[in-house]
Subunit: 220 residues, 2 copies
């Protein structure tokens, strides 16, 4: 019987469910991989199925529709990604170290073949508005946390007083997405170096400077 939505309503065994979930995850990964290289509209369900090693029609045993697949990929991306971020935000850490840790997670997750994240960034716009909104809600939690981090930095005097924390948080996200995409394309790029450079650029820009905290007193 075909019951793609809930294939195990009265599942006596658990084994089958496990199997199903495992393959489902693989299907999401396959979709992520194909969407990442061909784009949502450029990819066909046949591409995804082939990548997974099954026939086109069989894919619908795991997804209600192609759109659902995209949705799942985006959600998976955020789940994984935000999970890692949450851990960091919770840990007490000096400001600069925390910033560096966040950038590390962001960029490393790209390298770790997390094609889903790339898909989320580049393809989620092709979802209908309502589904996009849901993602936005999830994503903005992260943005807010990041903003809070900068606000904390300002309060502690580490960051300049007139800093626009909202702008800075978004810019950091943009920068990380740019380098993240680059990292996933150019495999011989040095991850660690990029992390350090992004941190440095965000913190101190490219200007010559003298750190104010060492001795000088703060301004008005």
């Amino acid at each position: 019987m075909n019951q793609s939505v809930t294939p195990n309503i009265h599942s006596s065994s658990t084994q089958s469910t496990v199997r199903y979930q495992r393959q489902r995850e693989k299907a999401i990964e396959a979709a992520a991989s194909v969407f990442a290289t061909k784009g949502y509209h450029g990819a066909s369900t046949k591409d995804i199925a082939t990548h997974l090693g099954i026939c086109q029609g069989s894919l619908y045993y795991y997804f209600k529709s192609k759109e659902t697949a995209l949705e799942e990929v985006c959600h998976a991306a955020l789940r994984n990604y935000l999970g890692g971020m949450d851990d960091i935000f919770r840990q007490p850490m000096p400001f600069e170290e925390k910033l560096s840790a966040i950038i590390t997670v962001h960029l490393a997750s790209y390298r770790a073949k997390n094609e889903a994240l790339k898909v989320h960034n580049e393809q989620r716009l092709y979802l209908p508005k309502q589904k996009r909104e849901k993602l936005k809600t999830l994503g903005s939690a992260y943005r807010k946390q990041l903003e809070e981090l900068f606000i904390g930095g300002v309060k502690s005097g580490k960051l300049k007083a007139n800093l626009d924390c909202h702008f800075t948080a978004l810019s950091l996200i943009g920068l990380c997405n740019y380098w993240g995409a680059m990292l996933s394309r150019e495999q011989d790029l040095n991850l660690k170096q990029v992390i350090e450079q992004c941190t440095e650029l965000t913190l101190r820009g490219c200007h010559t400077y003298v750190d104010q905290l060492t001795n000088t007193t703060a301004t008005s």
Copy 2:
């Protein structure tokens, strides 16, 4: 006679050519607009034609193929964009001012409904390798110029000596693309403010600092 490649081989009149070229440009704009919102694969030739106010088939009087349309859009984007940049690079200007001018051109061109630039950034990957390479060559001229600017800044002592100019140039491009896309989406975002903030972030980051060169006695 249908001769979509060169529709005016022995054109006695010039008028007709002018007309053709005008409509052709409009076709490129229409393609840019549709590609920008729906993506290359998500957009159909019918969408583009409708946007232009003609029938689907008629579009082929101006483009050999849909792919050609994308190619044209990307080239147009770079032409316009790089033209503006070249002017700035050529003019003698103090470093910070020049940087600000570049960021201004980059971001303003997004606001100026230059959907082509967005398409270039987000959709050019769907072109076949050879056509992509051609674009890369053009684009990297700009990257190189930008890098040169930073190198000059380092030499003059304005920028820190150990600056990775290649990384910084790319990061600035990434930052501008991020905010450019944002500006074209969120119409009520203040362009001038974003320009200033991008400049400031690139130059000095978000850290507290004392400018080493100007004797800033910014204290109250």
